[in-house]
């Protein structure tokens, strides 16, 4: 009576437990991702950057009292790269560029992690409410999202940060306000899609409550695109954040790449290229690396875009 006993046997022999199945699936996904060389490059850079950010207090002497403030060495102002004690040179106010680059990574990691986690939570909650409730609630929430999306990202963030006044916290706030909308959109469309799946009907048929269906069936099956977007945003946020800092919306003297570029840009015409170049390069690397990883993730989770590689 058992259909195709041979295949059944094969299924049973090859795998043993749910845990192993899960591990196997994880390994398969990782392998698919690592098969793409650009993803590997991106991943390597990401790992290096994060390592650098995490080990900042050990590779450089932290500035006292606030390690996130640039140390000022007034005895060595505007020295070029290669000078003793200042491998990457100093800015026109005696700030060590290497210190800025390393602690800037830490600042960027802090910034992007905080903004991404906050925006994901806000976006997932609002998107879920909209998608799950539907009707008028959905309509109102999505029109609000449309309003937010209609204003260009950078200009919107700039406006909010400018209104709040120059500070690093305000940059975080401004970015959160700008970036949550995408998650709400993604989450809503995912939920509406999953809601129409037959297994949601099947879950209702066995008597599950709405909340339980949401937590067990809808949420786990709609989360991957959010994860991909979050990875891409890890890069974008640092890019926009650095722009805001460059314009001067961050506290002066903070070890942040945008601030460093802004501090050094006046010296470019005088040939002091190093102060803006190195931090600028870091912003570039950071944004590039996370975008490469994000694209790799998208290829793995959404096979439809795979051919576009």
């Amino acid at each position: 009576m058992v259909d195709s006993p041979n295949t059944d046997q094969i299924y049973l022999q090859t795998r043993d437990s749910a845990w192993r199945v899960r591990a196997q699936r994880g390994w398969e996904l990782t392998r698919t991702m690592l098969a793409n060389p650009t993803t590997v490059i991106g991943l390597t850079i990401v790992v290096l950057l994060i390592l650098m950010a995490l080990s900042a207090p050990w590779i450089t002497e932290p500035n006292t009292p606030d390690a996130y403030q640039m140390p000022r060495d007034w005895s060595a102002v505007r020295v070029p790269p290669g000078s003793p004690g200042h491998i990457l040179g100093t800015t026109n106010r005696g700030g060590d560029v290497l210190y800025g680059v390393i602690w800037g990574a830490r600042t960027s990691l802090k910034l992007s992690l905080m903004v991404v986690s906050l925006t994901v939570v806000i976006g997932v909650v609002i998107g879920s409410v909209a998608g799950f409730t539907g009707g008028r609630v959905d309509e109102v929430l999505m029109r609000i999202v449309d309003v937010f999306l209609s204003i260009p990202e950078l200009i919107f963030a700039l406006a909010i940060a400018a209104v709040l006044g120059p500070s690093f916290t305000n940059i975080i706030l401004a970015l959160v306000v700008v970036f949550w909308v995408k998650y709400a959109r993604i989450m809503r469309s995912q939920i509406i899609r999953i809601k129409q799946s037959e297994y949601i009907d099947a879950a209702r048929v066995i008597g599950d409550s709405k909340l339980r269906i949401y937590l067990r069936d809808i949420l786990p099956n709609s989360f991957t695109p959010v994860m991909v977007q979050a990875t891409l945003d890890m890069g974008n946020i640092v890019l926009v954040g650095a722009t805001l800092s460059f314009i001067g919306l961050s506290e002066a003297g903070i070890a942040e790449w945008g601030v460093l570029v802004s501090e050094g840009q006046a010296g470019i015409s005088a040939g002091r290229w190093w102060a803006p170049t190195f931090p600028g390069l870091m912003v570039f690397l950071w944004a590039l690396a996370f975008n490469l990883v994000g694209d790799g993730l998208r290829d793995v989770f959404d096979p439809r875009t795979e051919s576009a590689r």
């Binding site: 299924y11 049973l12 199945v21 066995i206």
Partner: protein, 442 residues
């Protein structure tokens, strides 16, 4: 209002009625008007029988079936009227489930009416049995019926299982939802005491625990009892799976749906649907997505489990030859109406309605030589704001003027056989003649 003939069930049939659909109307709001997807459908389902609901795509058979579980999305769906009366059943007191005279050897009797304790009142239509109108009951009551008293098997088992959960946890869900007392019992957990742990375990068995409670349950003395619950549920799941003759249920439980073949997935769906021994099983084309060899086995399995448990089955299909093989009675639907309902044998040997005749004639047979396939001419009518007329008019070979102006109702033409056609009963006054079976010469 529609079909007096179908409602009166012959006294010959010993099995009690499990569900009774009366003048069910489900409409859909669309841009072009109101679509009458189900327009006055009436039929009864008796305990332990298989009723086939046959019709072409879009005739309203799935909507009818889904109405039993209130799965029709609203909006755009509109409950336009009618009722679905459902009589949940319990174990027979006299024989404790072994089967005796008073319960027709099924071991189960209708649950007593809670309002009049079996004496008969207006609430239970004087039957003394608990009768629920599935269109009216509260949402929480509906949830307690779903999966417990009424279950459903879906068309495509690949789509009806959550890809992110193991098979075991998906079947366990039914037990957690509807059998928490049995789960605790099987785990030998005494929850009658005032022990604070027992409350936690009770909530755990009903899958209601919150994060803090789940954390509490990880503390050693409670953990062992929690593990007992898990083990008990695992046993129940394995038993449910074993009943579907799946090989190695313990291992299948740990699989994910994508790792199983289509036939195995459908077995899992059946195990899940029959886990709580429902009174009514709705099978919405359960074998359409499977290939023919597996199809036969799945049908055998459903039939066998149904026989053993005396579950009534509402079997929805467009496959006539299949329906003939497995159904006791057959209702033929066309454009939101039932046009003919009868015993399966009778309907295949002596089809009355021109549509049923057309359907049967369109069945290609193995003995016939190759040639042009027979088909019913024309297309299904628009169901948007229909005028009073026979729905089959325009395609019917026996049509006369009357058919386009009056609406035939389902009326008895003999033993448990009802047809909605003017050929078999008198059209109303002032009509333009009566159709006959003699086919138009064309």
């Amino acid at each position: 209002m529609m079909s007096e003939g179908a409602e009166k069930n012959p006294s010959k049939s010993p099995a009690p009625v499990v569900a009774s659909v009366a003048d069910l109307q489900v409409h859909f709001q669309s841009k072009r008007g109101i679509v009458h997807a189900v327009d006055g459908v009436s039929f009864d389902i008796h305990d332990g029988e298989t009723l086939g609901l046959v019709g072409e795509t879009g005739c309203g058979k799935s909507v009818t079936a889904r109405s039993f579980l209130r799965l029709v999305p609203k909006p755009p769906g509109i409950d336009a009227g009618g009722s679905i009366l459902f009589r949940p059943r319990t174990t027979c007191d006299a024989c404790e489930g072994r089967g005796c005279e008073s319960c027709h050897q099924t071991g189960r009797v209708s649950a007593g009416c809670s309002a009049c304790s079996g004496k008969g009142c207006s609430e239970c239509v004087q039957s003394g049995e608990e009768t629920l109108d599935l269109m009216q009951v509260s949402n929480s009551r509906m949830r307690s019926l779903r999966g417990d008293r009424i279950a459903m098997i879906f068309q495509d088992p690949g789509k009806a299982l959550n890809p992110a959960l193991t098979i075991g946890s998906q079947i366990a869900e039914v037990f957690y939802q509807h059998r928490s007392a049995e789960v605790l019992d099987a785990a030998n957990v005494d929850v009658s005491g005032i022990d604070p742990g027992s409350l936690l375990l009770k909530r755990q068995a009903a899958q209601q625990s919150r994060t803090i409670e789940r954390t509490l349950l990880k503390i050693p003395p409670l953990r062992s009892r929690r593990n007992q619950i898990t083990a008990a549920v695992d046993d129940m799941v394995a038993d449910a799976l074993a009943e579907t003759q799946i090989a190695n249920p313990r291992k299948i439980m740990q699989r994910y749906p994508h790792e199983l073949s289509g036939g195995m997935r459908q077995r899992v769906m059946i195990a899940q649907a029959l886990a709580c021994n429902p009174d009514l099983l709705i099978a919405d084309e359960p074998t359409t997505a499977l290939d023919v060899t597996v199809q036969a086995r799945i049908l055998e399995l459903i039939h066998e489990l149904q026989q053993r448990r005396q579950t009534a089955v509402l079997y929805i299909s467009h496959d006539l030859s299949l329906v003939r093989r497995i159904c006791d009675r057959v209702a033929v639907m066309y454009a939101g109406r039932i046009v003919e309902i009868s015993d399966a044998d009778q309907i295949f040997q002596d089809p009355r309605h021109p549509y049923t005749r057309g359907l049967l004639a369109a069945l290609p047979s193995a003995t016939q030589s190759r040639g042009k396939l027979a088909a019913i001419e024309g297309t299904v009518p628009e169901l948007v704001d229909p005028t009073p007329s026979c729905r089959f008019s325009g395609r019917c070979p026996n049509e006369v003027e009357t058919c386009a102006r009056f609406d035939p109702h389902l009326q008895s033409v003999g033993d448990e056989h009802s047809v909605a056609c003017f050929i078999y009963h008198e059209p109303p006054e002032g009509s333009g003649g009566r159709p006959t079976l003699a086919a138009r010469s064309s």
